[in-house]
Subunit: 537 residues, 2 copies
């Protein structure tokens, strides 16, 4: 054996053999499971033995939706997530404005969320002008669906002259009809002018940096969406960066690419290359077509059937009209490609489910595993539709930390209590995997697992429809075996089973035994991918 981990509290997620204390690994594969007395004698003179000191070992965590490159870019920008007022946003930005001026770059701020402010009011262009009128500034909302630009920036983008009613762009306007600096949804593409696409080697470095950070959280596999990170289709460049790292043996994690494309033509061009659905390039695997069908709740762009109760007349937006969505889906589906669609509102969900049903009926094929990313607002009847069509869900438990503040106001408690209902999915036998949508939220898995169980805020100050919560074991499964299922890899990873990849995580306490509220405090001690320890605390 290469390595034997022993003296552990190993919870396998394999119902056939749920727990043991030791695991023997060779050539990246789990070779044997058992008690220490059975496994330790398998050690040869070159076997490394690792004493787990009674700690909890789980299958390596799998995050099924995040944005790896975007996460790194976020690190280099002003983090506004902790700001609790417009004033604080201005102060945080002001501290970095000189630096941006020196480099001749835009000043970027990320992850603001006015819902957390003392006065929850959307900032506008003039608020940012107070920071600088000479340096272009853009701040992006935590949900990604909205950015605010200062006057200098708006001028540089060439949209300062737009007037309400005369533009096709999704801009916000002051009462006088001039732009207020708010740019919504895909209109944010214009901000590509404010960024420079990094060179291949820089992208490779960013990937490695992101992987190193994720390894600290016990993540061994990730589904990452990166192709339109720079607003334009950069699939060729980014796929090349991943493939080179994989070929060089440098990619520490297994990456399943969620391939975001906005048009059928872009997708067709992509599929005409070597990037066939499910194609594996070492640890880099071509995953589903990723489609956006609506926006976000905080930005009030999530598309709701009955509109926003707290913003009468507003219904949110549908990104792709029905026929266009169908064409995009049909192109992927006919080519044997999986599909994962961003839907937050119940109207977006219906439109997307209709399109799924249509392509599946028109071109029946086995085991497509199409899914809905986020799947937040919905009725029980809509959830039942997941079961009927065998659609999978990708949920972000951490979202409830802030969403529990606004959902009931936005849609009313009747719909709210049917929504984010992880309990119902599992009871119906619907496959749901867990994810962070990082950098929308941090990719820390253990706090995510905590939210699944407690349905409470971090500080315990509020619990939200706890009856929709799930057990700790179900929560762990969401971030392990169900994550593997989402990439058609449940036979080779997602549980600690003889014959699967040795992708493992060690946690500093047994999260099955402690108070659920304390799961968020648990720390990852060690992360193992393919039998190699890639992180140790």
């Amino acid at each position: 054996m290469d390595t034997i981990f022993y003296n552990g509290m190993i919870r396998t997620q394999d119902n056939a053999y749920p727990a043991c204390s030791a695991v023997a690994v060779k050539g990246g594969v789990i070779m044997r499971l058992g008690c220490d007395e059975e496994i330790l004698p398998l050690a040869g003179k070159n076997t490394k033995t690792v004493d787990l000191a009674g700690k909890l070992m789980l299958p390596g965590f799998i995050d099924t939706h995040l944005h790896m490159l975007n996460y790194i870019e976020f690190l280099e920008q002003v983090n506004l997530s902790e700001a609790r007022s417009l004033r604080q946003v201005q102060e945080l930005c002001a501290a970095k404005v000189g630096q941006a001026a020196e480099k001749g770059k835009w000043l970027g701020g990320v992850s603001f969320n006015q819902d957390h402010w003392e006065v929850p009011q959307m900032p506008t262009r003039k608020d940012l002008d107070a920071i600088s009128q000479d340096v272009p500034i853009v701040i992006r909302r935590a949900c990604f669906n909205m950015s605010v630009v200062n006057t200098k920036g708006m001028e540089m983008l060439g949209i300062m002259g737009e007037r309400e009613g005369l533009t096709q762009m999704l801009l916000g306007f002051y009462d006088d009809g001039t732009p207020n600096g708010i740019i919504r949804q895909h209109s944010q593409d214009i901000l590509a002018k404010a960024v420079t696409i990094p060179a291949l080697e820089d992208i490779k470095e960013m990937i490695l940096k992101a992987c190193a950070h994720m390894a600290k959280q016990g993540i061994t596999s990730v589904h990452s969406e990166d192709y339109i990170n720079y607003a334009v289709d950069s699939s060729e460049l980014i796929a090349r960066a991943y493939k080179e790292l994989a070929a060089e043996g440098k990619l520490p994690l297994r990456v399943y690419q969620q391939c975001a494309f906005r048009t059928k033509e872009q997708l067709e061009a992509f599929l005409a290359t070597e990037n066939k659905p499910g194609a594996e390039f070492g640890r880099y695997k071509i995953g589903p077509l990723k489609v956006f069908e609506d926006g976000a709740l905080g930005a009030r762009t999530a598309c709701l059937k009955d509109g926003y109760l707290n913003d009468p007349g507003k219904k949110g937006i549908l990104i792709h009209p029905k026929e266009e969505l169908y064409e995009l889906f049909a192109t992927a589906h006919k080519n044997g490609m999986q599909i994962a669609t961003h839907c937050i509102g119940d109207e977006a969900l219906d439109v997307t489910m209709d399109a799924y049903e249509r392509v599946m009926n028109e071109y029946p094929r086995v085991d497509p595993r199409h899914g809905i990313i986020h799947c937040q607002l919905m009725t029980c009847g809509q959830q039942e539709r997941f079961r009927q069509l065998n659609i999978i869900g990708y949920v972000q438990p951490v979202f409830i930390e802030s969403d529990m503040n606004i959902v009931d106001d936005c849609v009313g408690s009747d719909l709210a209590k049917q929504s984010y209902n992880w309990r119902a999915y599992i009871d119906m036998g619907v496959h749901i995997s867990g994810s962070s949508d990082c950098p929308v939220e941090a990719f820390d898995i253990l706090p995510n697992i905590c939210y699944c169980v407690t349905r409470s805020k971090k500080d315990g100050s509020k619990t939200w429809y706890p009856e929709n919560g799930i057990t700790i074991d179900e929560a762990v499964r969401m971030f392990t075996l169900e994550g593997a299922y989402a990439s058609f890899e449940e036979a080779v990873k997602g549980s600690i089973t003889v014959g699967k990849y040795a992708d493992l995580v060690v946690v500093d306490r047994d999260i099955y035994q402690i108070e659920p509220g304390e799961i968020q405090d648990a720390q990852v001690l060690m992360t193992v991918v393919n039998g190699e320890i890639i992180y140790k605390r």
Copy 2:
């Protein structure tokens, strides 16, 4: 929808949705499951609706080990399975001897089993000379491991001159040292001289005939071993026959080929062609390397650690010496090929498990799913080894009908009660699938399921270690979902799940509700492959 089956008692084998009354099918795929009220409205004007009249529908049956071509050849030979004396064997053969003489062919008899005779004595050459001294005659024991030839036949084979102690062949001898006509194990290869390998078109016809018969038993997928049916390696010819049928859209069932080869060189030559492990040619898929490692219990060639209690000094035979077995396994394993090995005795099992462990340790790879076909005699400790190495089992429940007469005598009750222990496999989480080994036994699935539950003889006259039996649901799983697992296809078949192939069977009574002993009387009413009704009673 193409077809809607409704008003049924549908037991899905999908834990997430165990039962329903209606299933909608399109393009060969299960599109929707539900109650009649949900599913019937999906019917369009071209939809065929099939009233199941309250009958039981299950996933299509999967038989994971049989010999399709051999079965057809058996049909054309004298069936001796019902004979209860040597006299009856002679009478049954005598009735057909004229016909064989006319055609200038050998007279072949199959499936005799002297253990069922009034006087259970092995027949010899002179017993067959009483039928004819001019027409060559060969009769084969039900277990396949032994044949008996008359004097004319022995002369034509050129082995009448062999003497005890001077031949390498596994022959039987009279006290005077001359051959008694009994030919054992691989020495039966010489009987190839007695058969003619059919032409391609004839093989295709034989396959179609076998499939039609299997369809009547509700079989929708089969793992068939055919390559050395004519004693010599006929893999090229036989694979071609299957592939042509598949390409012509004529193959009614899904066939997973168990690729029997005797030598490493034959296997290497095979793998150098388009026949890569897991390669799919329509419904024909390249399956595991099939290896024989011992013989059979009735013929006393199954290899036992402690020998035959009722035949002191006899231990059975090992077909491949350890090193040769290892070389064969290593060739398959390194090429990514699954392996399935015939083992009946506990000694053969140890040797085979050792070789599996060695190749897996030396060349670790994920999810190999190597297995043991038959896996009859073993200790609890050996069964535990299935779990440790994640080895799968292929069991033939029907074998207990005759084996319960002899096992305790052969090996003693202590080993007997640990053997054929399906309960233990399932409790340990070991994957076991069900099969018939037809033409060794009939491929009727429902009687096989009955044996799983009752552990009793057909007529109820004896029950054998009933504590080793399993539940009806577990038994059905052995012949459905576990069968799919054995060919790496659990994601696309083996349960009635939206997105899987519409492979279905309808049975005339609810075998979950009736007296277990009556399960064997249940009849298949309808068999559906890929949404098409291929058999209807």
